[in-house]
């Protein structure tokens, strides 16, 4: 969706402000948000892209004003409510309103969590069709404005780039759900800055995106 999360090329945000000696967490509550988000994710009720969508549907004014962990927490509350694990009253009062719902996976214990962190969730899969594009080929990103999640940023839509790498077939974020998803070919597509930004673009700059095959047509 064309939400506040799609920031590439936006202006007016000012300087990047690196913080010398930045701690991993600035306060305890941040580490708790990380922990409950990852642990609840282990229940298998939503996947990574549904998690991302729950963040990008925040009102743009809230998204841009919030810290990253606040965005995560708001999204987690939404996911818990949408999947029926918690109801609105429970979220408001902080008190249980009934027994727990059945989840796709049991809550990970300490050992299970260590395993999830160590192994991750590979996103590649057997391709269902041969790759449509080859290294060196020119492709044009589609003009599209889906209301659900997509990984094609606005700044690349309609632009012509070159296939630079082929990563095999990965689960297509725009249509995947928990435990389901269509493997499609994933490429690195490189765009000259001139193509993306036009007049005044840095002539030494090339920008690439990781592009899923359904986003492109041969150019």
């Amino acid at each position: 969706m064309n939400g506040a999360q799609d920031l590439g090329g936006a202006m007016g945000f000012g300087r990047v402000e690196p913080e010398a000696g930045e701690p991993v967490f600035h306060a305890d509550w941040e580490s708790r948000v990380l922990a409950v988000t990852l642990a609840a994710g282990g229940l298998g009720e939503w996947n990574i892209d549904q998690g991302r969508h729950a963040r990008e549907v925040l009102h743009p004014a809230l998204y841009l004003n919030a810290s990253y962990y606040e965005i995560w927490l708001r999204a987690l509350e939404r996911l818990l409510k949408e999947t029926g694990l918690l109801d609105a009253q429970e979220l408001e009062t902080g008190r249980p309103n009934g027994p727990a719902a059945k989840t796709r996976l049991p809550p990970p214990d300490a050992e299970g969590m260590r395993r999830i962190i160590a192994k991750g969730t590979p996103f590649d899969s057997e391709p269902r069709a041969p790759a449509r594009f080859a290294i060196g080929q020119k492709v044009r990103a589609k003009e599209m404005n889906p209301t659900y999640h997509t990984r094609l940023p606005r700044y690349a839509r309609g632009k012509v780039g070159v296939v630079e790498r082929v990563h095999g077939a990965h689960i297509f974020p725009d249509t995947s759900g928990p435990g389901t998803g269509e493997p499609v070919w994933l490429y690195t597509i490189a765009f000259p800055a001139q193509e993306l930004w036009g007049e005044g673009a840095d002539p030494t700059l090339t920008v690439s995106i990781e592009g899923f095959e359904p986003y492109f047509d041969a150019a």
Partner: protein, 211 residues
């Protein structure tokens, strides 16, 4: 903390009255009480990312690539497998791609859409990496972004920005600094900063590090 410019990162109450500090405390209690999360799993997560996984992992990968030409080749050909050789991989780094800086090419990593970052090699991303100034400008004016980090490259250096829009996660292999011939991998790793592996910095010169 007063000097930190990150918006709202210290738990202030948001525009609509939402108080993340109180909310997460209540939510954690509720999730534990209903049996949706195991407190022991929460401890594992915090301990792992606070203490066990961080830029020191990526620095070891880079130092080995600088020291061992065969490893460098394996790393550039298959970042996931080469990272696994050193025991690094897993969540947030299932598909690792390493890209190498040269005298004529400088690489920079960003995620304009969220905060994708090679967790097993660099740990959790810093606030600036996740914030709108970096995510908006890195793909448009990377030289101006580099200037915010005090880095100026020759005008002729080609710049390549990798927008991490899928589960492929990038790490930059910075150029090995001059005057480091004969240094051990362990010493070399101390020259490899987090910023140098994102591309917003360069590896440190050896005289910058106390012997």
């Amino acid at each position: 903390m007063a000097s930190c410019a990150c918006p709202g990162d210290h738990g202030r109450v948001a525009l609509d009255g939402y108080d993340p500090v109180a909310r997460v405390k209540a939510l954690e209690q509720l999730l534990v009480e209903k049996g949706y999360v195991d407190p022991a799993a929460l401890d594992v997560i915090v301990d792992t990312y606070a203490h066990r996984i961080g830029p020191m992992n990526g620095a070891k990968v880079v130092a080995k690539a600088w020291s061992d030409p065969a490893y460098r080749e394996r790393l550039l050909a298959d970042g996931t497998a080469a990272s696994a050789e050193l025991g690094y991989g897993g969540r947030g780094g299932e598909h690792i791609v390493a890209v190498e800086n040269t005298p004529t090419l400088h690489n920079l990593i960003v995620c304009t859409l969220c905060s994708c970052y090679p967790w097993p090699l660099l740990g959790l991303p810093p606030v600036w990496y996740k914030s709108p100034p970096y995510r908006s400008r890195a793909v448009l004016e990377p030289r101006a972004v580099l200037a915010d980090f005090g880095v100026t490259l020759p005008e002729t250096t080609r710049i390549r920005v990798w927008d991490s829009t899928a589960e492929t996660r990038y790490i930059v292999v910075p150029m090995r600094p001059a005057g480091t011939e004969g240094l051990s991998e362990e010493r070399l790793a101390t020259l490899v900063t987090r910023e140098s592996m994102i591309g917003t910095g360069l590896a440190l010169a050896p005289e910058r590090i106390a012997a």
